[in-house]
Symmetry: C2
Amino acid sequence: MGKEREKLWREVRELSLGSEIDRLHSPPSPLHFLRDYVSQSKPCVISNAISHWPALKLWSHPAYLSGALSNDYVSLHLTPNGSADAVTPVTSAGDLCFASAHVEKVPFPEALQAVRSSSSKRETVGYLQQQNDCFRTEYSTVASDCDGDIAWATEALGCSPEAVNLWIGTHLSVTSFHKDHYENLYAVVSGEKHFLLLPPTDVHRLYVQPYPAANYSYHRDTETFKLEIEQPLRHVPWCSVDPYPSPEREASERLKYPFFFDGPKPFHCTLKAGEILYLPSMWFHHVSQTPGDGGYTVAVNYWYDMQFDIKYAYFNFLQSVSYESSSLSPILSWREDEDSESGDGEV
Amino acid sequence: MGKEREKLWREVRELSLGSEIDRLHSPPSPLHFLRDYVSQSKPCVISNAISHWPALKLWSHPAYLSGALSNDYVSLHLTPNGSADAVTPVTSAGDLCFASAHVEKVPFPEALQAVRSSSSKRETVGYLQQQNDCFRTEYSTVASDCDGDIAWATEALGCSPEAVNLWIGTHLSVTSFHKDHYENLYAVVSGEKHFLLLPPTDVHRLYVQPYPAANYSYHRDTETFKLEIEQPLRHVPWCSVDPYPSPEREASERLKYPFFFDGPKPFHCTLKAGEILYLPSMWFHHVSQTPGDGGYTVAVNYWYDMQFDIKYAYFNFLQSVSYESSSLSPILSWREDEDSESGDGEV
């Protein structure tokens, strides 16, 4: 089985994906987008698609945003290290959990200040994000600085966005490998976003495993975090692989996750302000960022409903095939529809 | 593996295909067609899409066709039983081969007469077909009775048809289960066509095996056929299952091919004159027919290039997973790209 799976990883690249993400220098027609990207589950980067957004000029000025949103409460995510929704040691023995950020609603100016003053030294990193359509709720005051949808994607996909999310962070905030059950149009407004991408065919290379859910809580008086396992116990299936292990962990990580480190390289792409990434549903992605002039990175992403079609059924079949490789690899078998404990059903 | 594969067969039906082929009562827009059918690898039947073709009125009259094509030579396929490109016993011991028809070029009026006078009693069945773009070559004289393409499909797929084929036959001609590496728009002009359809996910249910290629040759003086294995030996991978075995063979066929007979029923659809079937690439199909007023069935099909994308890579992976089921099932493993001996690469 191992040989056949490796052939699949290679074949999808040779036949369809190539070695680099396609770049389009103007918005595609709905038909072109649907035929050459969505239907084929193939990402692309589109330039010059949001040049008309006022946000592109305005949002790199913290004074503008803080002024416009001075009375709005937004969800601030706090962690000691910038890794939320990530596999994290929870005991001194190194037992791992799936850690969620401490979330609190604070006035936007205070929240932005917390993001901009994030510090690894002080072990407090703020990230403005909330994947619950926050752009159209918490940030409705500035919603008119962007379009409400990506028009050619809406026409191609035949529906309006199910959720629109805003992200404001610094280089300290990193999103670990995961996938979403949405078609994703991801627009960078200020700064840069760096994506590592792996197609759904490569699911075994990420060693998805169930981890006990845990939550950070932040204690303002001592400026410290506590990480506690949720009770009753709940398990979240999540990717085990950190693509950028620290030098002292690299050798052991490479031994633990040979499919990832020894297989085809993930696709890498950097999105500059003004560019959109089409990230197909079920693609695994790892996201980091470089701040722009304002000292932060801003992005808006549009989630459109995906089709649960033959591609999704094939993915489930592939995922259900267990690892069976070296003794270092966990013997795992996972099915989407058995992920009932994962909450939002996303890995 | 068997359990996971059965779940795949069920899941693709539950999530996407449903229990019956969709029917559209007017031609879809290119976007609708691409989004809801091509991208999802989902068949549909379209009515009222070719009502304007002169062929619909003219071609059920043998006199019209024979008059219009009186000077044209066309490819007549002859077999003793109406089964060409099918698995057939080649020895009295029952050894099986992949049998191709005797093909000769004859003037159209004579060819049509051979089709209309086909007889199982006389063991001579004629079928007018040639899957090499014959409609635009051998039948160019009457090509203007139809459209040169299916306009909304051409726009959706972003290319013109690679081949257009004509089929004139009787109830005696049956096409065995196989798949094509093309997106197929199949239009019935006279009579009815009956399709049994299975999605690519169900590949193991058809027990694709390599059979030695063989050819019928027809001896006009004795009005008999000879079936001979090709030399040098060449193997063609083909579906082993006959969905309609004779009563005396039924019990043994059911034992030999349990995945087919015990699994989900194939989709069945009957196309009437004036209807089009969208048959997605890689779908397995078995075709039979009921003659119209002229004593024959006529169909024109448009083959468009398919995308060799992630769906195709998934299919190849699935196909490469061996059978491993009951002792009655052959242990088989097959990959598309190793089909080099199959000639046109089709199963």
